[in-house]
């Protein structure tokens, strides 16, 4: 059973990973197992192993692992990239005082990500889902002394939590309707979801039913989870901020794997979505892609550009999900993982050098700002070439993997829109525009960084800049190999031949029947090439580029469409204000009422106290007082003088006598 060994190995990274070697070794074993599993399982019937976890009521929750094409594809992808990033990190993170913590966090991340991929149960996926979010939280905030970093990780976690709420709501709906959370029995070919029917506004599955609105709501709820995790509009703002973490982390988590989890989830529960939700998914994807593309045009921080590019590409994937092209979506997920990881790691190598330079010269500048770079081509040739390949893949130039996957998405979205007509056409067109935007912003990045003159050369000697360390260099090379077409398809121009696409069932037969299959790639590529040239002429040479920074659109884009500001003022301030109000309410009104009762009670107490003291106690005291007075009076008789006693006695006897005498007389 390779499964068993695999499972054990998955757990290893989470524990006591104090040295990098151990972490690398364990992730390498994971990769090896994943590959074995992959070879054994690809295009085979799925394996589903379960064990009872716990029982509530008469319902018992079984958890286990589910290996089908989807998960075995993700396994080597995740563990492979994770391995490369691990190797890269040995150099990149060298000398950090909290290195062991870094490895432990990475291990936890790998564990939860792999768990997410193989989990067979929605609840288990949810657990891993949150763990992924948690480890990303830890890694973003790895440099916890940096205030921006901890704010970013808080933001990331809370935004992800918002998605989790959606996910959890989805789980609740699923459970309530189908009494199981098992993915196979829910979404399998004969699963409950496909058997459930909607009739007369009621969603019926066996004995259980609820209003049909909940079906849409369930889809939306899961989609909200995916939106948060895959950084789609409107919850995308955490991803750019998440770039505060180490670059290696950004590449692993925020480019290649974690953000893909949202797409993965959509793929897993795909049968659940009805048309309304799918349209919304497509629209969200298209809009996000377009928006992030425009923002990326004007950013100056190298990592932020890549972050927005990631958001944009994820938009493509979500879009593909929405239009029903789940296979293309996953294909793009795979290719994107490699080239985006490559770009990030390349950027990391550059930043690494820039930071070293900064330390050596003691100058104050931002090592991530592309305005400070330039002409690095001569000094870091390997980085340059690999990053160039990655960029070409991102632009989707033929012969790269990106071409295959992106074209698949574009073409299928065109076909989808053709089937629907009307406003739906906006979706593919915006996607196409976005891919041109992609060409522009990524070439701007490349040209600004690698071409022209080094912009700080007046103050810094360039001879300090040199190629990245071997560990980093070779990782880049390996990744760039994965960006080329043969890895995914032997035919460099036809995405239908890619084995990944063929691994998934397709709704319609993929024949090149209509014009889109030739027109779209051609249009995309021709204009892209033109844009690249334009970019080169603007940024590649030393001539000053045209300045747009005064225009309104530029500002709109540079401030990321003002989402952050809007969220901060509306939601964060709103919630905080509301909570303060509630606290005031609690303190003044609720507690006030309690204290009022207390005060009333005390008032009554005071009245009764007064009454007690003056009236009741007064009477008692009066008696006492009288007794005292009487005592004093009588005391006066006790003079100790014999004769006075005798007089008293005499008087008393006389009194008695007179009394007796007269009463007897009467």
């Amino acid at each position: 059973m390779p499964l068993l060994t695999f499972f054990i190995n998955v757990f290893i990274p989470g524990r006591f990973t104090r040295s990098g070697f151990f972490a690398i070794a364990s992730i390498a074993i994971s990769l090896l197992c994943s590959l074995l599993v992959f070879i054994a399982m690809w295009n085979e019937p799925f394996i589903h192993v379960q064990t009872n976890w716990f029982t509530i009521g008469s319902w018992s929750l079984d958890v286990g692992i589910l290996l089908n094409n989807l998960s075995v594809l993700m396994l080597p992808l995740v563990s492979g990239i994770a391995l490369l990033v691990h190797i890269y990190s040995t150099k990149y993170m060298q000398g950090d005082p909290y290195l062991h913590r870094y490895w432990a966090y990475l291990g936890l991340f790998c564990f939860s990500m792999l768990g997410l991929v193989i989990a067979d149960n929605l609840l288990l996926i949810y657990m891993c889902w949150e763990l992924v979010g948690f480890s990303s939280y830890l890694l973003i905030g790895f440099w916890f002394t940096r205030n921006v970093a901890v704010q970013a990780n808080k933001k990331a976690f809370i935004m992800n939590r918002l998605g989790d709420i959606g996910f959890l709501t989805g789980i609740m709906i699923m459970f309530s309707q189908f009494q199981t959370l098992d993915i196979i029995s829910l979404f399998g070919e004969k699963g409950l979801v496909s058997h459930a029917i909607v009739s007369e506004g009621i969603w019926i599955s066996g004995m259980h039913h609820m209003p049909a609105g909940w079906l849409t709501f369930a889809g939306l709820a899961f989609f909200l989870g995916a939106v948060a995790k895959s950084a789609q509009f409107p919850l995308h703002t955490w991803l750019p901020d998440a770039m505060e973490g180490p670059t290696s982390v950004s590449s692993l988590i925020h480019a290649a794997t974690m953000v893909a989890a949202g797409v993965f989830l959509l793929a897993r529960i795909y049968p659940l979505f009805n048309d309304t939700v799918l349209v919304l998914i497509a629209a969200t994807g298209a809009f996000t892609a377009f928006m992030a593309g425009t923002i990326a045009l004007t950013q100056n921080d190298i990592k932020r550009i890549l972050a927005f590019s990631t958001i944009s590409q994820l938009g493509f994937m979500i879009l593909a999900m929405g239009v029903g092209a789940s296979a293309s979506s996953l294909f793009h997920l795979g290719t994107h993982a490699f080239f985006k990881c490559l770009l990030f790691l390349g950027a990391g190598a550059i930043i690494h050098e820039m930071v070293h330079l900064k330390e050596k010269t003691g100058l104050e500048y931002d090592p991530q700002d592309i305005r400070n770079m330039g002409g690095l081509r001569k000094y870091m040739p390997v980085t340059f070439i690999t990053m160039a390949i990655g960029s070409l893949a991102l632009i989707a130039i033929p012969l790269t993997s990106g071409y295959l996957s992106k074209d698949a998405i574009l073409i299928e979205s065109f076909e989808w829109a053709e089937g629907k007509g009307g406003w739906y056409r906006l979706v593919p067109y915006s996607a196409m525009i976005t891919s041109w935007l992609t060409a522009f912003y990524i070439s701007r990045l490349i040209f600004k960084v690698f071409f022209g003159e080094f912009r700080l050369k007046d103050t810094v000697g360039l001879h300090h800049v040199h190629e990245a360390a071997p560990a980093m260099k070779y990782v880049l090379v390996v990744l760039s190999l994965f960006c080329l077409f043969p890895v995914f398809s032997l035919n460099p121009l036809l995405f239908e031949d890619a084995w990944v696409i063929q691994g998934f069932p397709q709704a319609d037969s993929m024949t090149r029947i209509n014009a889109f299959h030739t027109v779209v790639p051609a249009a995309v590529n021709l204009i892209s090439v033109f844009l690249i040239y334009l970019c080169f002429s603007w940024y590649g040479s030393n001539k000053p580029a045209p300045d747009f920074s005064k225009t309104g659109l530029f500002k709109f884009s540079q401030h990321q469409w003002f989402f952050d500001k809007a969220y901060n003022t509306v939601f964060v301030a709103g919630v905080l204000g509301f909570s303060r109000f509630l606290y005031w309410f609690d303190l003044v009104i609720v507690d006030g009422i309690v204290n009022l009762f207390g005060a009333i009670g005390r008032g009554f107490a005071r009245i009764s106290d007064w009454f007690d003291r003056n009236i009741i106690d007064g009477l008692v005291n009066l008696i006492g007082y009288l007794a005292g007075k009487l005592g004093k009076l009588i005391r006066n008789f006790q003079t100790g003088r014999l004769q006075q006693y005798l007089v008293t006695m005499l008087l008393i006897i006389l009194t008695l006598f007179i009394y007796k005498y007269y009463t007897a007389a009467i």
Binding site: G640, Q643, L646
Partner: protein, 101 residues
């Protein structure tokens, strides 16, 4: 025959004199004498009323008994007074007021 009223008058006078002596004298001996006066007033009454009991002579007998008792009481009283004197060096009853509270 002397009428009963005379006896009564003398007896009352004797009693009052005794009472006065007891209440007003600043000397314990004089108070004792006052007490004797009152006793004798009583005895006189006994004797005077004894004529109505000729058969048993109860009045005379009680008078004798009272006399004997008075003698004993005087003896005791004198002893007390003597002791009081040795203790306080004084027999003025107004000074000896340790009975007070």
């Amino acid at each position: 025959m002397i009428p009963l009223a005379h006896f009564m008058l003398i007896s009352a006078a004797l009693f009052c004199i005794g009472l006065y002596a007891v209440l007003s004298k600043r000397n314990a001996i004089m108070m004792l004498i006052g007490i004797e006066f009152m006793l004798n007033a009583a005895i006189l009454n006994f004797v005077a009323f004894g004529k109505y009991d000729k058969l048993h002579m109860g009045g005379q007998l009680f008078a004798l008994f009272a006399i004997v008792l008075a003698a004993a009481a005087v003896a005791v009283s004198l002893a007390i007074i003597l002791n009081v004197y040795t203790f306080y060096k004084n027999i003025d009853p107004t000074v000896i007021d340790q009975l007070r509270d």
